[in-house]
């Protein structure tokens, strides 16, 4: 090799190195979000739409130019793990995300089994974890849970809007409570019974039944001919549908129901046999959307996912607005890595997105919800603030 060719080789190497450095600097201008969700298994019906919501928000942020932090443009990428509806896979997925030092914010999981397992791993690390499962509320604000946020309201917050709205919509004055014999039912009664009574409704009967009960006749007989005009029940669609079906068959029972759950499906089938039914839509009502923001979001969702909305699509709004909040918080604090500052900014923010999002200092959601109503065979919904 002569001197000239050596020089050319050196110049080429320098150009290549420069290109690599430029590419590296371009790569560095991304914000990498982590996401762990049950994309397969029985919990996928919640978590899959929730993950679609995150991806959709990220896509929209990137399309409008990304996130501007201290004058520098960043695009967002998402590193996703499948919890497979199992705690052990949630933990291994969480650990894979935690091994990546570039990931500072992690979204995901709507069910408590995998959720608690993953949150335990996140609690030991310096990341901001934003989840949706019920038991996350028990960790917020406690040691290890300082950098955690739950984007769905807890029972106490939901009840504050659900109870008065249901009472006024259904016109009930004397209500019985019938729930499966589970820990969550005790906490539901502890929240709902005093609220009902504070709103002028008598609650003379509270009954717990065996969780796998199929024949509700004996327990429903306890509510018969007691002068009740309503019942509060839960906690899942299959159970509530069975209760409704058997209540309408047995006769002598109230025909107005308040459902501590997120779907009108159990009652719609029996719409002629019930006088009223209310339920909780923890994000937004997509089936009877009248809000232009919700209508527009539905169209964007269809375009992004190439899917039509289904009864579970509203879970896609679990994290959707919060992704925008995190991006806004990064812009406000001028950092993509200072998780404590980002966490504080999100918790201090009120965000008018598709949902109205706000959190308390510990990260409990205080957002507005929609309340589904079935009356006179017609389904509608109302917006209710906490």
């Amino acid at each position: 090799m002569n001197h000239r060719s050596t020089l050319i080789a050196a110049r080429s190497a320098a150009v290549a190195l420069g290109g690599l450095m430029l590419a590296a600097s371009c790569l560095a201008q991304t914000i990498k979000l982590g996401m762990v969700n049950s994309l397969t298994g029985p919990h996928a019906s919640f978590d899959l739409p929730a993950s679609e919501g995150v991806l959709m928000a990220v896509d929209e942020i990137n399309k409008r130019g990304g996130v501007t932090v201290k004058g520098k443009k960043y695009t967002i990428t998402v590193d996703s793990e499948d919890a497979q509806s199992k705690p052990e896979f949630a933990v291994s997925g969480a650990q894979r995300l935690l091994r990546d030092d570039d990931i500072k914010v992690i979204f995901g999981i709507l069910t408590s089994g995998p959720g608690m397992a993953a949150a335990t791993a996140f609690g030991k690390s310096d990341v901001l974890y934003i989840g949706g499962f019920t038991l996350l509320d028990t960790l917020l604000g406690k040691p290890g849970g300082e950098l955690m946020i739950r984007t769905l309201n807890n029972d106490a917050t939901v009840a504050k809007s659900f109870v008065p709205t249901s009472i006024s919509e259904l016109g009930v004055k004397k209500v019985g409570i019938m729930l499966p014999n589970e820990d969550v039912s005790r906490s539901i009664v502890a929240v709902y019974k005093p609220l009902l009574e504070a709103n002028g409704v008598q609650v003379p009967i509270v009954e717990y039944f065996q969780p796998d009960t199929q024949d509700f006749a004996p327990v429903l007989r306890k509510f018969q001919n007691q002068g009740l005009d309503g019942m509060l029940t839960g906690t899942n669609d299959a159970l509530v549908e069975a209760i409704l079906r058997q209540a309408t068959e047995l006769g002598g029972l109230p025909r107005k129901f308040m459902y501590r759950g997120g779907s009108g499906a159990p009652a719609i089938k029996y719409s002629k046999a019930v006088d009223g039914f209310t339920w909780q839509i923890l994000s937004r009502d997509l089936d009877n959307a009248s809000d232009p923001k919700v209508k527009a979001w539905i169209e964007r969702y269809k375009a992004f996912t190439k899917k039509d909305v289904s009864p579970n699509t509203y879970w896609a709004l679990t994290f959707y607005d919060t992704v925008f909040m995190v991006a806004k918080a990064m812009e406000e604090v001028g950092s993509t890595t200072d998780v404590k500052a980002i966490d504080a900014a999100v918790k201090a923010m009120k965000y008018e997105g598709v949902r109205t999002m706000r959190f308390d200092k510990d990260g409990h959601a205080q957002s507005d919800i929609d309340i589904g109503i079935l009356k006179n065979g017609k389904v509608s919904s109302v917006r209710a603030g906490a």
């Binding site: 009960t213 024949d215 306890k222 068959e249 047995l250």
Partner: protein
């Protein structure tokens, strides 16, 4: 009035338990196999009814088709699986456990775990003598009584029924007097499975249908088989009604969160006084 209503509720659901238990006790009495796959027949019977009713054919054809289809499936299982395990009860029991896993997972894959219901032929309730009763539950009770009576008459009055009873008493002796034991065994499987199919259709007319619904009726079917006396059809029927009434009274007047426990209390108390079950015969196996 409330007590009578609750008793009737218990009889209605107890009749369903009895229908399941008849099949279990017949197969055990003749073949000595505790057929765990019997619960799957209940589940498949319920799904058959769901699809037949959804296709617009109505409840009565669904009942007939459910019984025939499960009878045919019972015959198939007897020919393919259980005939080959006759000499080894543990092998038969293990095979039936395998059948559970295969059928349950196939059902979950084909039908999805989502609960299904179909419109009963008699929705709503009616009032009589101050009682408010569910029309469909009363219909189910009537049908159960008819099925039990028909099964009893079949076993008591027909040649095949007599052959079944003879085999229940002594399989070798029955073979020695010319009874075709393999044919009778197949008939017992068909009869037991058809009863399970009927129970499934009636279950489906009252409760939600899922691929995993078989566990509760099967467990209760076994309790009743033991309580009634292994191999005793009248014992299984009486035990079914007793269990239904015990659950109903316990849930109504004590705690509904202990519902399944009442049956086991009944079982323990009954076995203290009747160690061979309510209708267990002297010389038969102590349960």
């Amino acid at each position: 009035m409330d007590l009578i209503q609750t008793l009737l509720d218990g009889l209605m659901v107890g009749g369903l338990y009895a229908t399941v238990a008849i099949g279990v006790t017949l197969v055990f009495g003749i073949m000595g196999i505790l057929n765990f796959a019997h619960g799957q027949m209940v589940m498949l019977g319920a799904y058959t009814a769901f699809f037949v009713v959804s296709a617009g054919l109505g409840f009565w054809p669904a009942l007939l088709i459910g019984m025939v289809a499960m009878g045919a499936l019972g015959l198939l299982l007897e020919r393919v699986v259980f005939r080959h395990t006759l000499g080894d009860h543990m092998q038969g029991l293990t095979a039936s456990l395998g059948v559970i896993m295969v059928v349950e997972n196939l059902a979950a894959a084909a039908f999805t775990p989502d609960p299904r219901t179909f419109e009963p032929p008699l929705p709503g309730s009616f009032q009589i003598f101050g009682l408010t009763l569910s029309s469909q539950r009363v219909l189910v009770l009537v049908l159960v009584v008819l099925l039990v009576v028909a099964c009893h008459l079949f076993l008591q009055k027909t040649r095949i029924g007599k052959a079944i009873r003879a085999m229940g008493q002594n399989r070798t002796g029955a073979a020695l007097v010319g009874i075709q034991t393999t044919q009778v065994t197949a008939i017992v499987f068909v009869l037991g499975s058809a009863m399970a199919g009927a129970a499934g259709v009636l279950y489906g007319s009252l409760f939600a249908i899922t691929p995993y619904m078989a566990a509760a009726p099967l467990m209760k079917g076994f309790i009743l088989t033991v309580l009634g006396g292994l191999g005793s059809v009248p014992g299984a029927v009486l035990a079914g009604f007793l269990l239904g009434v015990a659950e109903s009274l316990g849930s109504r007047y004590l705690s509904a969160s202990f519902r399944d426990g009442y049956g086991f209390i009944l079982l323990i108390v009954a076995l203290l006084y009747f160690p061979r079950g309510l209708f267990g015969q002297r010389g038969k196996v102590r349960v």
